[in-house]
Symmetry: C4
Subunit: 350 residues, 4 copies
Amino acid sequence: SFQKLGDNGGELTTLQKLLVFYKSPISKFCYHSSAYVIFLVLYAYVVLFDFEYEMTYMEIFLLIWIFNHLINEIAEIAAEPSLSLRGKINDWVSSVWNRFDMVSLLLTCMALGLRLHRQTFTWGRIAYAINTTVFYCRLFRIYHVSYHLGPKLVIFYRMISEVLVFLALLVIFILGYGIASQSLLHLSRNAFTLNSTSISNIMKDVLLTPYWQMYGELQLEEIAGEDEQVCHQKSCWVNEVCFKDNTSCTKELDCVCENPTDYSWVVNLMLFFYLIIGNIMLLNLLIAIFTYVFDEVQENSMEIWKFEMLRLIQEYDFKPALVPPFVVIEYLWRVCKYLWKLTCREEKEN
Amino acid sequence: SFQKLGDNGGELTTLQKLLVFYKSPISKFCYHSSAYVIFLVLYAYVVLFDFEYEMTYMEIFLLIWIFNHLINEIAEIAAEPSLSLRGKINDWVSSVWNRFDMVSLLLTCMALGLRLHRQTFTWGRIAYAINTTVFYCRLFRIYHVSYHLGPKLVIFYRMISEVLVFLALLVIFILGYGIASQSLLHLSRNAFTLNSTSISNIMKDVLLTPYWQMYGELQLEEIAGEDEQVCHQKSCWVNEVCFKDNTSCTKELDCVCENPTDYSWVVNLMLFFYLIIGNIMLLNLLIAIFTYVFDEVQENSMEIWKFEMLRLIQEYDFKPALVPPFVVIEYLWRVCKYLWKLTCREEKEN
Amino acid sequence: SFQKLGDNGGELTTLQKLLVFYKSPISKFCYHSSAYVIFLVLYAYVVLFDFEYEMTYMEIFLLIWIFNHLINEIAEIAAEPSLSLRGKINDWVSSVWNRFDMVSLLLTCMALGLRLHRQTFTWGRIAYAINTTVFYCRLFRIYHVSYHLGPKLVIFYRMISEVLVFLALLVIFILGYGIASQSLLHLSRNAFTLNSTSISNIMKDVLLTPYWQMYGELQLEEIAGEDEQVCHQKSCWVNEVCFKDNTSCTKELDCVCENPTDYSWVVNLMLFFYLIIGNIMLLNLLIAIFTYVFDEVQENSMEIWKFEMLRLIQEYDFKPALVPPFVVIEYLWRVCKYLWKLTCREEKEN
Amino acid sequence: SFQKLGDNGGELTTLQKLLVFYKSPISKFCYHSSAYVIFLVLYAYVVLFDFEYEMTYMEIFLLIWIFNHLINEIAEIAAEPSLSLRGKINDWVSSVWNRFDMVSLLLTCMALGLRLHRQTFTWGRIAYAINTTVFYCRLFRIYHVSYHLGPKLVIFYRMISEVLVFLALLVIFILGYGIASQSLLHLSRNAFTLNSTSISNIMKDVLLTPYWQMYGELQLEEIAGEDEQVCHQKSCWVNEVCFKDNTSCTKELDCVCENPTDYSWVVNLMLFFYLIIGNIMLLNLLIAIFTYVFDEVQENSMEIWKFEMLRLIQEYDFKPALVPPFVVIEYLWRVCKYLWKLTCREEKEN
């Protein structure tokens, strides 16, 4: 015996039933999710095919859609129970999903600002590309309702701190091995001829090469070193070489010369130890940590997931019934309703 | 003191003994398995060497063999205890092995239909190739009787759902990274010039490249980007550059240009984070999940395996004594016997 | 208060002390191990540098050394407590190390036989190479005395059966994927033109390529397929194409043609699923199994190791005091001693 | 109610407060760590860009800095509680971090000695490069204070012994497989023509190639073998081939010839088994060991970490307040203070 939901305590009319169904959190979740998937397809289309210097209609449509998101989020902040604006924002930011939304919206604003100027157009493209990743990661929100995927996401989130520990340990070995190997493989690098290209090359060689090597992309031909003799000018002296009969002497320039290929075996040995530490010790230690932590958080994950589910339902209960591109209409209507309440209703009641 | 098995309560004759031995589930299992292995060898031979536009004798022989399988499966469905046809099919489908059989038989029919027509001949070959995999996977049925392999298969089957969770998480990161990186590496893609080849290339770049990268095939030279300048026509304006004495001015076209190699470092950084998430976090999380689940299902696996063994023995008890290529004969004989029972025996009894 | 060890119940003389030290199992173990390491160095030298058609002195010396091993093993068999020859051999074979010795000695005999004949000389080299591996694996015997390494070896030995299960599951997926992908990538293979080279190529493509792919060596360029059209002759028919005014008609040959590159996407998808199953599911399942089994056998491993240690000490107690290349001398002396006991001592006692 | 810290039992003056703050272990740790990071940046700069035959100012500055380190360590040894020098050194060496310091300082001295001489200049560069790694690994000292990283470092340190066990097992398989495969792939190697280059090549082929293969860098094209016929001269004999009518006979040289490509399939098979053992069995066994050991040492790690923290605080309490490049000043001042205590104070007190 559920309570009657109708206006006058009776049954709902068909239209009311439809409205209740349409406004229930589960329905809202379904069509908001569908709308979001469509949004992602459009976004992918724009960044892959339709990103020109002059905005295309599709891109403008996309930006309107994101603008709707923005209004949505502002409404959510306004609806937080806290009284002060600071408190409202703090409450809102406490959810990891809202932080996602904030990042994506800030990135969009930045991307829009950058792409509109001639000089920063290329940075605008980069911002759009990075934003793609953020928008796709927001899809995990939809995964969250799944009984199978939700708790795994909670555990995944918990594991991030363990991976950071792993990276903190790894970065030291990467730096130690990367700098040592580069100092042996590239002998003629000079600090006075550095430009942005050569700096980015050095960063790549020092940081990324050891990182790729950790994944088994050993790049052995790079480790072999270029076969070019580098001689130190200041070390040269003239060496007089005389034949036995001392009749003819030839002067030879004797310099200290180095060849990266001579150092190749040292770099090979360094790679040997680096791989043991980076690939075998650290990775396997991480596996052991994951196995340990998984056993610990497995039970809690279900609790946390249920708590998150509650939050999600509350959020969708509040969410407008219209999907993003038309959500402005709903908010306009809400504002009208609010104004009507303030003015007309009072009159009526009077 | 076993019960005597002979017709008149006495010992079995030598021929009867041979028949009992030949009809016992274990013997049936042995020669059905051997026949199946021979079938697989023939199938491999046909798809590797003997798949011509006009069917070869070997292929026709193979299709007859599969037709025997088909009759076998129909007989099995008919023998299910349920009374209605729907119930019989439901009972039959409830076993994962029967689902395997169903898929392979449907694929065979489809493959036959496709390969017989000129236009769809190439699709026929694809269907034959996919069917090879399905036929080989049915071999696990034979593994199932092993005390060592059986329970492992049960656990393997249980792990599939965990891998699906892993894939569901992975696909989001693949899409996010794949679309973002492609939007930076291929600037001149155009939605209006898309054809089937270019679409399949984009699908490969967006979906498969990140997937291969997860396995350590980093394809670093593709990430470096092609060194080709792409200029936006609509962004061009004429720039008048005058010398100091203002006597001569040259007009220059000033355009916003992009080069994929300039974005290379962004894609490298994206790959950096993608590999941490895809290769390190997700894979190690999966290992932790597997370790956890394995400990849980280890005991049950033995129970489930024993239950499956019972099912297997029952099935082989029912199976015809003749192996597939000649199984039609047995079924014909069964029908004859059944008809004889219906007609002659009654007369005899009368 | 140890018991006096001297002949007449008193102290040992210096020479006797030296002999006791020299004959103690631990000393014997040390110099037998050293001798074995020297043997391995020599063996490596011979197979790498000194394997000619005519035997070099080094190789002959090596064969004499192995002959000494052989005598040693025969003496060990003779010393087993069982009375019958069959029992002695069974007792001896029950130790995994003796089985190693047996295999290496049989391989040596075979290798010697093969390398002496003109026709089988190349097989002789293969047998020598394989024997290298067996001889080096015998080094684990020396590891076995280590407190750290010994129990790990016991666990390693226990894990072999789990790896066999893994391989048994893997081989089915390898066959299924390998045959299916090869049937799409190489269309013009013909059973009638097979020779040993093409068979070994097909074996490599079907079995080894999927195996290497499991280790992340994806060989994507091989999967792309060669770009060569293969047309089926029997499918060709003459197609008359007439222009609209019917004045001129040209005859065209219309054939069903295939191109491996058209099937590339199917093979890519197959590799997609094969890698999930082979690299992710099976490998991670194996890790889970190893983790489980390790926890189980960890305690027992110590017990088994101690038992093996006892066996080892007993063996070295029996072993001749001289190291392999001179061991013949010791055995000759033992035989002499035995004969003296039989003849002279009896006289003396009389 | 803390105890008053002022000289005369009262409050501290502002300058005293500043000094107390500046001399507290936590502040010392902060600026010593910062100074060390700056040192590492300078060191990286020198080895990457500024390592010339004639020392640059930067390198000299660096060496002065390291000299300061040296004095620091000597002061630490002197401050150890033990009375004898040997005891002091033993106490000091018992900490793993001090051993790190010792190695790095010895390496620096060696590197300096080597780089100053013409003949050993290249070895000097190698020593500098290796020292880079050691200096960067000392950074872990700073990590040690972190609540998250510290215990992980303790566990990491504990795992080293397990990895050594793994390597000890691995090296046997590497040698067995490496020597066997090389004996088949390079047939014309000769012990008499060996020089340092060819020896280092052989070492690489025998030891490093199997090691890289373990990480999935299978180098399949090297395993295929060079396609060059090697014939044994001593095996040649003259074969008279006569035609049927015996009128004309031709003499043919019949030799035993070998081709590495003929042995390719054996090497492939060897790699097959080597990968199962090296990549699958040993690596997964190591994962199982790590998981087991991690569960064991997890609790202890926190205890050990706390003990290490105490040690660290004590060390920083003793450390000079000035950072390394100026630390000499502090020590000079300490010596002065000590002398003053010895002489002036006594007078004062008198």
